[in-house]
Structures are given as C-alpha cells and as structure tokens.
C-alpha cells in the first residue's frame, strides 16, 4: 500500500512536470507535442473509465471522439455558436452517442461488447465518409475549425491554446479523480470485479454500465473537439478504427484502471511515434510489437512499474 501511494505521487509529479516544462521552453515544438498528449490523455482517461474501471472493452471509441470533433466544427462554422457552448455540446453529443451505442452494444457482454462497438463505430465511419457528405465534407473533411474566442485572448497562438488545453485537461482530470473515488466509481469497480455479485447487492448493473459509457463518451467528445481545434481540421480519419486502437494501446501501455497510467501511456505512445516515425515509415508495426510485448510481460503497464501491482488484479472478472 505504501509503495502504491508513493508510486501514484511519482506519476502525478511526472505528469505535472510534463505540463509545466513547455511553458518555460522557447521552442514551440514541445508546446504542440504536449498539447497533443494532453488532448489524447483526456480521451484516454475517459476511455479507461469504461475499460479499466468498469471492465467494458470498447472498440468503438473513435466514433465518440470523432463525433465530438464534428459537433464542435459544425456548430461553430455553420451555426456561429461560441466555442465554449460548442465544446459543451460536443461533450453532450459524445455522451448521447455513447448512450445510443450502449443501447445495442450493452445487450451483449464481455468480448461481444468489443465486437459490437467496433461494428457500430465502423457504421458511423462509413456514414460520415459517404452518406452524410453534405454535413461532414466526406473524406476531404472540413478545414478551418476555429480556436476559442474568450476575453479577447488570441488562441490562434499555439502557446495560449496550450494554456487553454491545460485548463480543460486539469478540470477533466480533477472531475475524473472525484468520480473514481465516489460511491459511483466504487460501484463501477464492483461491476468489473463481479457483475453477478454487484447485481445481487442491489446495484443496477445495466444502468451503471450505461452511465459509465456515457461519461466516457463525454470525455471522448471534448477531447475530439479540442483535437479538431488544435489541428484546424477534421476528417473521418478521427472516426477510423485505428483511433479506437490507438487509445486502447495507450491505456494498456500506461496501465488500465489507474488514474495516471493512461496519461503516461499517451505520453510514451506519442513520444515513440514522434521518434520512430522519423526513423522508419513502419513505426506502427514496431509499436504493435511493443504493444504485444507489453501485453505479455507488463500486464499492469507503466503504472505497474511505479505501483508494483503485478498480482494480476484489475483484470475484468
């Protein structure tokens, strides 16, 4: 327990250092990289609420992420809605879509949930790239996604946008920490540990799963909106199944079921991607190999190195 606490603090310090350092560095390269890391980290901690905490392996989170991005883009560009209301709407759209997907996908459990979420997300990908072309711009995507417009600050400067991302990230992280420590968070862990027992204790397992998935969807929606704004651009690539795969790899690499693990997982993933893609165009395959090795040998991910959890707990069922 002692070691676990120390490990968690060390991870928190690493994350804090990662956030602070770009403010002091003259080069914009780190600002952009850490912006990207924090946005994906927001996505990953939301994903982990469904996967690591509640035990639902979703392979369809790309749909929630991408739809959040499209919601912000379409609302700000076509309907001239302010950035903050639009980002709240992106959270709402992510949560609603998650509820909708859950309506079908939660009819099955375990591995079938993974297959179904994958299939549903693929359907949304196909819809966005073909059928809804008028709304989404099809495969070409939509350029010119705006940055926030607040207090007369110029967020088109990457440094100020970075500060905005940091604020949203910290709010998201704090809410998630509260949520996970709350009775609701504990009930979710009970569902993961033994859903039969949880339901015998009087918990509404289905409703708990639905709500965890919806909250997860809201996080994905906000993260997607922030990413579209960072890039000034959105395309169906954000809805592609590899996006679902990426967030899964990040979370497992970092340590599912822990608060800081997925954040470190994102950082390692993005750094590896940055370095490997300069050396070889086959970086994704190498990353896959690292992922396989981590699955076999590092079952609690990077967080397991800090917290010393190698007893296999935290697995579903």
């Amino acid at each position: 327990m002692m070691r676990k606490n120390i490990g968690t603090w060390i991870m928190a310090l690493i994350v804090a250092a990662m956030i602070i350092v770009p403010f002091g560095l003259p080069s914009e390269q780190w600002v952009n990289l850490v912006s990207l890391i924090l946005i994906w980290a927001l996505f990953a901690i939301g994903f982990d609420l469904a996967f690591g905490v509640t035990g639902m392996l979703s392979f369809g989170h790309a749909a929630l992420f991408g739809t959040g991005g499209y919601a912000l883009t379409i609302l700000t560009i076509s309907y001239q809605i302010g950035f903050i209301p639009a980002i709240l709407a992106a959270a709402m759209v992510g949560a609603l879509l998650a509820l909708g997907m859950g309506l079908f996908a939660l009819r099955v459990s375990g591995l079938f949930f993974a297959l179904l979420t994958l299939a549903l997300a693929q359907m949304i990908y196909i819809l966005a790239s073909n059928k809804l072309r008028a709304l989404t711009g099809g495969l070409d995507g939509i350029p010119g996604v705006p940055r926030p417009d607040l207090f007369g600050i110029d967020f088109y400067d990457n440094r100020t946008y970075y500060a905005f991302v940091v604020v949203v990230f910290l709010i998201g992280l704090a809410l998630m920490a509260l949520l996970r420590a709350s009775p609701f968070g504990r009930a979710l862990r009970a569902v993961q540990a033994n859903d039969t027992r949880a339901s015998q204790l009087g918990y509404n397992v289905h409703a708990l799963r639905q709500s965890a998935f919806a909250v997860s969807g809201a996080y994905a929606g906000v993260a997607g909106a922030l990413l579209a704004s960072l890039m000034f651009y959105i395309s169906p690539q954000m809805l592609h199944w590899t996006t679902s795969g990426d967030v899964l790899i990040m979370t497992v690499l970092g340590g599912k079921g822990t608060l800081f693990g997925p954040i470190l997982g994102v950082a390692v993933f993005e750094l590896l991607k940055e370095e490997l893609s300069q050396i070889t165009q086959y970086w994704y395959g190498i990353l896959g190999l690292i992922f396989i090795l981590a699955t076999i040998f590092l079952r609690n991910g990077i967080a397991g190195l800090f917290e010393g959890r190698d007893d296999g707990q935290g697995g579903a069922q």
Binding site: I126, V252, T295
Partner: protein, 285 residues
C-alpha cells in the same frame, strides 16, 4: 441468377472465415482479431507463389500451408503465454498482431494493388439457366462446400476431432489420458489460420489485393458470428448465407447502401434476438 451465384460464393467465403474464427474461439476461448490479417496474408502469399510458379493451383495449395505455419509460430511464441489470463488480454494481443502483420506486409509487398489472374481453366463463362455465370464463381462455391464438408468430417467424425473436443472441454482430463494439449492448441490455431488463408487465396482472383482487405472482412465475420452465435456452426452457416445474399442483392439493386445493410442486419438481430439467432442460452464470453 448471377445474383444468386455471386451471393452463394460470397456466403461460402464468409463461412470459411467465420468457421476459422469460431473454431479458434470454441477450442481456445480466443477471439482472433488478426483473423482478417491472416486472410490478407493468405492472399499476398498466394500472389507471391503464383508469381513464382506461374500456377494458381500451387498458390491455393502452398499459401495456406505457409500461413498455417506462421499461425502455429504465433501461437507458440505469444498466445500460449496469455491463455491463463482474462480473455481481454488475448484480444489485445491479437489486435497488436494486426499492426505488425499489416506493416510487415507493407514492407514486403509495398502499397500498390496486386492482382492474381483467374486460372485459365475457369475463365470461360458457363451458361446456366439462360444466363452466363463466371466459372470461377461456381468453383468458389464448390470449393467452399468441399472444405466445409471436410471440416465437418474432421471435427465431428474423426479421431482428431475427438481429441480437439476433449482438449477443449476438459484439458486436465485430456492431459491425464496422454494427450499433448499444448500441441492440440497449436494445431487448432494453425488450422484456423489455414482456413483464413484459404479464404484469402481463393478470393485473390476476384478482388484487388490490398492492405485494407483484412479489416473490412473481419467486420463482416464479426457480424456473422454475432448474428449466428459464436461457436455455433449451424448459426454461422445461416448467418453467412444471410449476409452473403444480402450483399449480392444489394450490389445488384442498391449499390450505395450495401455497406450499411450489413449493419442494419446486425442491429435488427440484436433488437429482436440479442443472444443471436440460434443461441438458446445467454451470451457471455
């Protein structure tokens, strides 16, 4: 008429692949995400063999064997280590395999489309019930039916099948009886890979061979096993026919909507029979 033939050939292809998926799940408890990647690999390897030997038949024979050996290697090197853990780990591992296989394929064969010519024997159309049917499609149907039958005989009627079933239902007892369970598991994964590659090799003359082919097919296979019930061969046959025919009819009458029809089938099934069309008990994996 040609719609029916195309539908049937699609159905048999889907069945070959879903059968491999079902076989691996039934015996090892693993959902093999990389099944589509192995299918793609089968198509590429058969392209290579056809290039080298000049014979389609050699490709159809050798490619599945090579991929089966590769599958056995994967099972022994990686999958074996995670059987004792939660099912999610096995899924993660096979997902990682997709990335590795995809990039290795890109490294070896590059990004441009490959094409395997239809074997000379089967290029001429055949006149059947007043319409011209490509002979190769008929061959796919016959071949698929033959492989399905062989699979059924092996699993259900042979001593090997009995050993496989024994090793999956009670590994400890099977071990006590002197069965090398680890070897059986390797064999089953190899057989599943062989079926996937067979699907790839036989599809090769019908479609351009490209990197994305593995993923689109795995979605269809998942839809088949969700509709039919995983581990349920009867359900897989029916669901393959349903999906294959829907596709073929869609291509003829509403090309734009084909991709979405698959999902309509899936959602429709889940609304009315959440446990799959043929499942009698609840679904938990």
């Amino acid at each position: 008429m040609s719609t029916i033939i195309i539908g049937l050939s699609l159905s048999f292809l889907l069945f070959l692949l879903s059968a491999g998926l079902t076989l691996i799940f039934g015996m090892l408890g693993v959902i093999n995400f990389a099944h589509g990647a192995l299918y793609m690999l089968g198509a590429y390897v058969s392209f290579q063999v056809v290039q080298t030997t000049g014979s389609f038949w050699m490709g159809l024979l050798i490619a599945p064997l090579i991929v089966a050996a590769f599958g056995a290697l994967i099972e022994m090197a990686a999958l074996k280590r995670v059987y004792s853990r939660d099912h999610i780990f096995q899924l993660l591992l096979t997902f990682g395999l997709i990335l590795v296989i995809d990039d290795a394929t890109k490294l070896i064969w590059g990004l441009d489309y490959k094409q395997v010519p239809t074997p000379a024997l089967l290029t001429a159309p055949i006149k059947l019930f007043g319409s011209h049917i490509p002979a190769y499609r008929l061959f796919v149907i016959a071949f698929g039916a033959a492989v399905s039958l062989a699979l059924f005989l092996i699993l259900d009627r042979s001593k090997w099948g009995m050993i496989i079933r024994a090793a999956s239902s009670d590994p400890d007892m099977a071990r006590t009886l002197g069965i090398d369970v680890n070897r059986v598991r390797t064999g089953v994964f190899a057989l599943g890979s062989l079926l996937a590659a067979l699907g790839g090799a036989i599809t090769a003359p019908l479609v351009p061979i490209e990197l994305g082919m593995g993923f689109s097919v795995i979605i269809d296979c998942f839809v088949v096993v969700i509709i039919g019930g995983l581990g349920n061969i009867r359900g897989a046959i029916f669901a393959s026919l349903l999906l294959g025919m829907t596709r073929a009819i869609g291509y003829t009458y509403a090309t734009e909507w084909v991709e979405l029809m698959t999902f309509v089938l899936l959602i429709g099934t889940l609304m009315f029979r959440p446990a799959g069309l043929f499942s009698t008990k609840g679904r938990a994996a």
